[in-house]
């Protein structure tokens, strides 16, 4: 199969198409996923191909997520779309108290194979309720997996892994990645396993760990760092839970320095967890300051100018790397 240029948006469309097309016991629920094609155009014409199983719902995130739980307990694999990750708050009871618990609390009698797809992230001036990347909200919830791929191939392969996983999976799609185009080989039905990080660029001076759009920002920073003679290693976590800490530890054992990059809050964030696990496991190899780059502890302002001061950027990543190396 030859590689072709394809967008992140199209890759998820293809994965959705594959999942719905290969198994009649798969349902896709969400708001405006029929004629509108999904708020960000991901599902496009799928409602025509699978008219009974692509179901456009009322604006009822809390309850259509519950509908997904009921469907999954009675024999369906379910994909839902929460239009903006900020709206996850409305679905939290069904995700946290129900979907996440069911396999454990019912003694393994049944599970909830649900993928909650959700467009996330800022940099678009949407303001406090339409801009968040909230992966960290789910980190403390046992039973839930969190996946946030940054590349086109991973978007396709991780999505299918999420669909065929037997647990609720929060699948985070950064809005600024939708138009990302890459040469990709999307083998029909090929899955990328969850819980495996990817080393995007090898380097010996410092380890940068990120996921989702943070990886795109870190990639931009790499060229500038190289110009300054800094050879950074960049790791894309791809999935936050399960977390592939081994790959990070291996890298930090080599570089001795760690910089984490995320779009969510630094306080209680992904970087905090990664850094702590690194300290617990390979403190002896650390010989630089550990730096976390992420969102300031404020809501995300609507002003595009103000937003830049709050969210991570190429500049703040470079600054973070230099801070790590300076100690």
């Amino acid at each position: 199969m030859r590689k072709e240029k394809i967008s992140y948006r199209k890759a998820i469309y293809k994965a959705l198409d594959y999942a719905l097309g290969s198994d009649e016991k798969t349902v896709f629920l969400g708001e405006d996923i029929s004629a509108y094609g999904g708020a960000f155009g991901v599902s496009a014409d799928l409602y025509k191909k699978y008219p009974t199983r692509v179901i456009s719902t009322p604006i009822s995130e809390g309850s259509f997520t519950g509908v997904a739980v009921g469907l999954s307990m009675t024999g369906y694999r379910v994909i839902t779309e929460i239009m903006f990750m900020d709206f996850m708050t409305l679905a939290m009871d069904q995700i946290i108290n129900h979907a996440a618990n069911i396999h454990y609390m019912y003694g393994g009698q049944i599970a909830c194979p649900i993928v909650v797809r959700t467009p996330a992230g800022g940099y678009r001036g949407y303001g406090p309720s339409h801009s968040k990347a909230m992966e960290n909200l789910f980190m403390s919830i046992p039973g839930v997996k969190i996946v946030a791929p940054s590349s086109v191939e991973d978007a396709y392969g991780c999505f299918l892994s999420a669909v065929y996983d037997n647990n609720p999976v929060i699948f985070v799609e950064h809005k600024l990645l939708y138009n990302l185009e890459e040469e990709a080989e999307l083998q029909s039905g090929k899955q990328v396993p969850l819980g495996k990080a990817r080393v995007i660029k090898e380097g010996g001076d410092v380890t940068i760990v990120s996921h989702s759009y943070g990886v795109a920002l870190a990639k931009e920073a790499l060229a500038d760092l190289e110009a300054d003679g800094i050879d950074a290693e960049l790791i894309d976590l791809r999935s936050i839970k399960p977390l592939d800490i081994e790959t990070v530890i291996e890298s930090v054992s080599k570089t001795g320095r760690l910089v984490t990059v995320e779009e969510g809050s630094i306080f209680g964030g992904v970087g905090a967890e990664v850094a702590c696990q690194v300290i617990e496991n390979c403190l002896q190899y650390i010989d630089g300051r550990i730096v976390r780059v992420g969102k300031a502890d404020v809501p995300i302002p609507a002003s595009l100018t103000a937003e830049r001061f709050v969210l991570p950027s190429k500049g703040s990543i470079i600054e973070g790397v230099k801070k790590s190396l300076s100690w």
Binding site: S22, D23, K25, V27, T52, R53, I55, T57, P58, S60, G62, S63, F64, T65, G66, V67, A68, V69, G70, L71, S72, M73, T74, G75, Y76, R77, D93, Q94, N97, H98, N101, I102, H103, Y104, M105, Y106, G107, G108, Q109, I110, A111, P113, P142, G143, K145, Y164, D165, N166, N167
Partner: protein, 323 residues
């Protein structure tokens, strides 16, 4: 309707709940519990009118529904006692009690949490072209949750095979329904979703059965969702530590006059003798006591049961099948 079978089920529920109450008073059970003493008629009347393959989603006050569905009371005791032999290995307890083999999709610790799950089960039935139905029990208190309105709306627009059964026992914990609703009837709310409803005497098992039977068949034939509001009363407090300061002893006494069990006994006396009823009572009481003795002698969970199982494995066999 087999009145004798209904009576035996209702008695089992009553004795089971009384035993649970007794165990709590002795400090022999952990956590909390919500007893359905007084509400047995809705459990046996509704469930008795259903098929074995119909789905049920229950509430925090769900022991009666589960016993009516045919669960083994020993395994329910085991679950309440946190034993390995419980239906959920002791992990769920009273408010998270699921029995998939009986199509019982769980009691539920979140008020209103079961409503959308039942709608999902109904959507599943519809997509699969089956002729079973989903039944969702909930209390009048849950009708103030968003999930009530959202779920009824979806059930209505998608014409789902679902029966909503409101057990209106007048009090959401301590809060009287008339203090939190402009109207006394939950059924009025169904009208705004175009869902037909009926208000019935929930203390009369026969009445509950007949209505459920008729409505369930209509739903089964594609008639779409319906709602039954059964006016009922819990004779005990909301949970184990409730001094019942929010209602009068006179009101309680008046409702106890409507106790569904003596009503059933009166009917039974047309076919069997008082002596035979006493024999049945003693036998069921003994079977409940025996079930408890078996359950309490069971094993406590090991560290593996406590720490494993948060995630299902890929190879776990689910009804979805694996890919």
């Amino acid at each position: 309707m087999d009145i004798l079978e209904f009576y035996k089920k209702a008695l089992t529920i009553r004795f089971f709940e009384e035993k649970v109450d007794w165990l709590f008073s002795r400090g022999l059970l952990g956590g909390t519990t919500h007893l359905c003493i007084g509400q047995e008629a809705t459990a046996v009347g509704v469930v008795g009118a259903l098929r074995q393959d119909d789905y049920i989603v229950s509430t925090h006050r769900g022991h009666g529904h589960l016993i009516a569905k045919g669960a083994d009371i020993t395994k329910i005791f085991s679950e309440l006692l946190g034993k390995r032999e419980g239906y959920c290995k002791g992990r769920g307890g009273t408010q998270h009690l699921c029995v998939m083999e009986l199509n019982f999709l769980g009691t539920n610790g979140i008020t209103g949490g079961g409503l959308p799950i039942a709608a999902g089960a109904a959507l599943s039935i519809k997509l699969s072209g089956e002729d079973r139905i989903a039944v969702c029990f909930f209390g009048e208190g849950a009708s103030n949750q968003g999930t009530f309105h959202e779920s009824l709306n979806m059930a209505s627009i998608w014409n789902l095979p679902i029966l909503f059964v409101c057990e209106n026992n007048m009090y959401a914990m301590s809060t009287r329904f008339s203090d939190i609703s402009k109207f006394d009837d939950v059924a009025l709310r169904a009208a705004s979703f175009g869902i037909p409803s009926v208000i019935i005497d929930g203390m009369d098992a026969g009445r509950v059965f007949e209505n459920t039977k008729k409505i369930a068949e209509k739903i089964r034939q594609g008639g779409g969702p319906a709602l039954i509001e059964a006016k009922t009363y819990r004779f005990c407090g909301h949970s184990k530590s409730d001094a019942r300061l929010y209602r009068t002893r006179e009101e309680e006494a008046a409702w106890k006059q409507k106790d569904p069990l003596p009503k059933m006994e009166l009917k039974l006396l047309e076919v069997i003798s008082q002596g035979e009823i006493e024999v049945i009572k003693r036998s069921i009481k003994a079977s409940v006591d025996d079930a408890y003795e078996v359950a309490v002698a069971g094993e406590d969970p090991g560290v593996e049961e406590a720490l494993e199982g948060a995630y299902a494995q890929r190879e776990d066999l689910l009804p979805q099948g694996n890919i």
